[in-house]
Symmetry: C2
């Protein structure tokens, strides 16, 4: 992030503060004779085990957006730390369960929790982190009014449910021949956008911003999440392996029903025929990606991502973000969505 000096200095402050908040939540909950459970939790957070460190900790983007939103809405970012910790814990809980559900073996360059400790302990560790996320959030009552803390709690629980609704659809898609666009957007809205939207809304809420401004921050997070997912769909088929850290065209091999694929299937032409034949191999994938591009799948997804990005940035402008934090929000969003400017 050398191109974002303000953000970089913010991140340098944020990471240790977030870690301290997380540690406080975890330790205040008590151990009750379960050091190994604690070990699994800190492993998932990237703090312990082989190759622990920044890469294993993840980018903490959701927490960063939450804290920036608080500062940009006229508050002190420290007041939003409980919300940021909750977001980070919830995200990690969902990763543990996702990896079990889709048998993902590697997470942030290390074996997934279930690969190390088995599925039973991994499911339960996810549950423990879900409980910790809820506990973290209510510490908002130390920095904001009880009304605000309670409101944040209600928003958070709705967000958690949206997350499971999105995940439900994502799992269900695997067994469905056809997925309509409405279901796709419901899935992305829950699985990717809901937690970002909550983080931004909670940040503004903790800053004491008025409901209208809160709603704009929320919309910013929502559209940002949607745009990010579509961008990720594009990269999953046409991305450079070097950039994404995943093998290019990987999503075609795993038969993932991404937006470009849904577009291609709806054309009922050569791509749809090849897809439905069920014989996609690493050797045939590059050609299949070309066919999908020729049939307009890439252009359709890119224009959709562009439209969503515009909506995100428009929502951010309406939120009237202040100071360096406001600029950082815009820069971080653009960086995430791979916009040059």
């Amino acid at each position: 992030m050398t191109d974002l000096p303000a953000l970089s200095s913010f991140t340098a402050q944020v990471r240790p503060a977030l870690r301290k908040t997380l540690e406080k939540t975890i330790s205040s909950a008590g151990n009750h004779g379960t050091p190994h459970l604690l070990e699994m939790i800190t492993y998932q957070l990237g703090w312990s085990g082989e190759n622990a460190g920044p890469k294993a900790e993840g980018k903490q983007l959701r927490a960063t957006f939450t804290l920036l939103a608080c500062q940009a809405a006229g508050g002190d970012w420290r007041d939003a730390l409980p919300a940021a910790a909750a977001v980070e814990l919830l995200h990690n809980f969902s990763l543990i369960h996702d990896d079990i559900e889709d048998l993902g073996e590697i997470r942030r360059g290390r074996p997934a929790v279930w690969k190390v400790w088995g599925k039973a302990q991994a499911i339960n560790t996810g549950d423990a982190m879900f409980a910790l996320a809820n506990a973290a959030l209510l510490d908002l009552s130390e920095s904001v009014s009880l009304e605000t803390a309670l409101q944040a709690g209600k928003l958070f629980h709705t967000t958690c449910l949206r997350l499971t609704q999105g995940q439900h659809l994502d799992i269900a898609f695997e067994d469905q021949d056809q997925v309509n666009l409405e279901s796709y957007w419901q899935m992305v809205g829950g699985k990717t956008a809901a937690l970002l939207a909550f983080g931004l809304e909670a940040g503004a809420l903790a800053a004491g911003a008025n409901p209208e401004i809160q709603a704009h921050f929320k919309d910013f997070g929502h559209y940002l999440g949607m745009a990010f997912q579509v961008q990720d769909d594009i990269l999953g088929i046409w991305g450079e392996e070097e950039m994404t850290g995943k093998s290019a065209s990987g999503d075609l091999i795993t038969h993932k029903k991404t937006l470009p694929v849904l577009y291609g299937l709806a054309q009922k032409r050569e791509f749809a025929k090849a897809w439905n034949s069920g014989e996609i191999t690493p050797a045939t994938v590059p050609q299949l990606a070309e066919i999908l591009q020729a049939e307009g799948g890439r252009a359709y997804a890119q224009s959709t991502a562009d439209r969503l990005t515009d909506l995100a940035l428009e929502s951010l402008r309406k939120a009237q973000p202040q100071g360096e934090a406001g600029e950082s929000l815009e820069k971080l969003a653009k960086k995430l969505l791979q916009r040059a400017s």
Copy 2:
């Protein structure tokens, strides 16, 4: 429950009210294009699917204790409905995940959720019910003060974490040759006692009882849960199949490390030798149960259960429970612990 007329009439009022509260929580959260997720949730609650009905719904003991505590602490049981719904949803969430973790195929006489819809969807459905439990609880703010609602939230999150700590130990015990008594009590305290203790404390909290009275209700729930588990351990080895609905001595076949077994292992005599030989079959189990009884395992567990029951009833007396609800609490506890008087 023909021997408990007051309780029976209470239950007749409670069940529909609890159902209405649960339905309100579930529907107010919104569907977002996921009717099948809703189907899994209502199946787990016993409302839908084959053989839906009271048996599939379960006894709802935890919710009943919560509501009785509120009434017995001088409140109106209706004020505790959000807490009772939260307890019921959390209990059901934990059952879904427990069944996946220990491969339990039957739950309340029907196939477990994971047997019907697969593990991925079942894990996620449990997560959704966890989110719903949290959402249900915060509706307390409609009937009690914000402070009280927030306090209940904090207690609930600690309880959820205790539940996962207990479950962590329970899973870990399977792979351990030795389990010390301290770990056993930590496990039971989290897995069985914590949620009962929360329900009773939350009921008293919703009634506006003073902290001392709340603490006695909590202790009542804690000791009740502990006593119940030890009683269940005894029944799992020496119970009549007819009474328990499980095959007698089933816990010996599955090599479950219950309190009588831990006692027997500590004696390092014939029972320990047979257990460690690893050759326990349905044919040898009755003899093994006899040996364990002869070595004092049953008597030890029974005297422990009796001591815990006394502690529970003493805590209840200190809580000064009022009226018919107070009597019902005592009767229900005794019935649960199979005390004649």
